[in-house]
Amino acid sequence: MNSRLLPLLATLVIFLAAYAVCYAQYPAMLSTRVIGNLLTDNAFLGIVAVGMTFVIISGGIDLSVGSVIAFSGVFIAVMLRDTGLHPLAVFAALLVLTTLFGAAMGGVIHYLEMPPFIVTLAGMFLARGMAYVLSIDSVPITHEFYEVLQRSYWLMPGKGRLTLIGGMMLVVFLAGIMLAHRTRFGTNVYAVGGGVQTARLMGVPVGRTTVGIYALSGFLAGLAGIVFSIYTSAGYSLATVGVELDAIAAVVIGGTLLTGGSGFVAGTLIGVLIMGLIQTYIIFDGTLSSWWTKILIGMLLFAFIVLQKGLVWTSGKRRAAGG
């Protein structure tokens, strides 16, 4: 087996083991309901984490995504409220907007040689600020098309729902995997993450790639915004605060290195599911105070990362010893 896949495999093993532990304690955790919820509830996070994976593989970071999701929701809600446009037209306009927003950040990062952390931090302020300006209030979405979207799910045996947005997340992950490993753009992303200077000397179009990466992240954040608006049928400027950190955590738990250059989109899916599992477990437990909830999330995060490290390390060692 390819040694590059080791972290991915380790993550998967840990996830399955953790799920088994949860099941042993709360048998209801294996119901299709919980599995369906895991997909639906984390759909927006998963979609945005795909974009984040590309950004992080390229050695960057995108702190703006949480705000962009909030902005998207408000934008859609306000447009639907104030104009007669069909939601699909609004979606298209929004995706163009967020993609351009991402591309602009990528442009600033590349052409002005500014650190992504700071550029996207400013982007984070800006996007949420724009959301405020559009509407301070939370704006409900009442369009009948939204009802159609919300009602499109497949009822699994056991009353679990595989919803449209849950399915959409899986499709985005598939597309992300193809993009990362089967296109030149994908290889270029890894190349930029391996070393900008070197990539440039090897003839990688660094500028175009960088702009493309952040545009992709912007696009997916917009898409996640759409999903989130379907999820809540509302736009709210204070929504999804801190989602960027959740996304980063999911990406990293999925085995991607923040230093750039290595990682897997598929790993991110497992990362997202692990984060979802932690939350579900805590809710099933239901005896933890607010503070113990936070402490436990931190401890579980720690445990996952250490386990993963340990697994990669020991199996790596065994391989070396085995020749």
Binding site: Y111, L112, F125, L126, I136, W291, T293, I297, G298
Partner: protein
Amino acid sequence: MTGFKLLLRRILPQLITLALVVGLISIMFPGFFEISLANGRLYGSPVDIFNRGAPVALLAIGMTLVIATGGIDLSVGAVMAICGAVAAWGITEGYGLLPTLLMALAAGLACGLWNGLLVAFLGIQPIVATLILMVAGRGIAQLITEGAILTFNHEGMIFFGSGSLLTVPTPIIIAILTGALVTLIVRRSALGMLIEAIGINFRASTLAGVNTRVLLVAVYMTSGLCAALAGIIAAADIRGADANNAGLWLELDAILAVVIGGTSLLGGRFSLIASLIGALIIQAVNTGILLSGFPPEFNLIIKAVIILIILVLQSPRVRTVLAFLSTARADAAGQEKKVVEP
């Protein structure tokens, strides 16, 4: 060139930015520079900038060192909350001022030790290692205060937040003293160079015999200590430990301060004084927004735009263009684009 001139050249962009921001505020708000004495304490908007900027400045000191090693410390806000909570708890439990302060500082050191161990010995990426404490830390702080705001009325403790020494508010003094002390330690010893070496090339530094791991731990502990000081100030300022909100999102401000101060997030060369000026710039922007009287929904947009302008002006690309335009000094060394290849 003398050391002072070198330093001046290093921090000139930050100084100019600060001057510009302050200038902008004083245009919008003419009474800006009025300083008076109230209750034996300097009073005025410029004093506010220093005073309110003190916690971020303290965080920025530790953060600069961490970032210089190529790391990042997201936990400082949570550590502030923990240490503030410890301080409030110690005082209300009647442990006395000195023991309480020591406990709070020890808590900060312990947090830094934890981060440092994760980064240096378990090899966990700094952003994730410190994310763990960022999440859990606030929970720990709430555990200490039991979710409530733990108020106290101990004059000695309050002194650290709203007291003054020779008319200068205590937080300012603490920040300046800490900055001076850390600068002195780091630059008078070889620590500064070793930290930079780690940040630029960790492996090569290890091979050259630098005690990289221990140094990393020490740097994170320094960051924890600075956060503890900031936490004590924040708690003393409102006479209570607000575990939920103390230091919330301040880690971002601290990082921003370091970056505005010109230290690369990739690690390497750093300047503490430039970071401190960076912290002042951020606070000046915040105070300016408050004084301006715009409705709060514009706060974030204004802040974003100002930050962007500052950073664009300081970006290497624009700086080379500016240096090129002002042909006065052709040898604008250090501003030239860095190329690692020979």
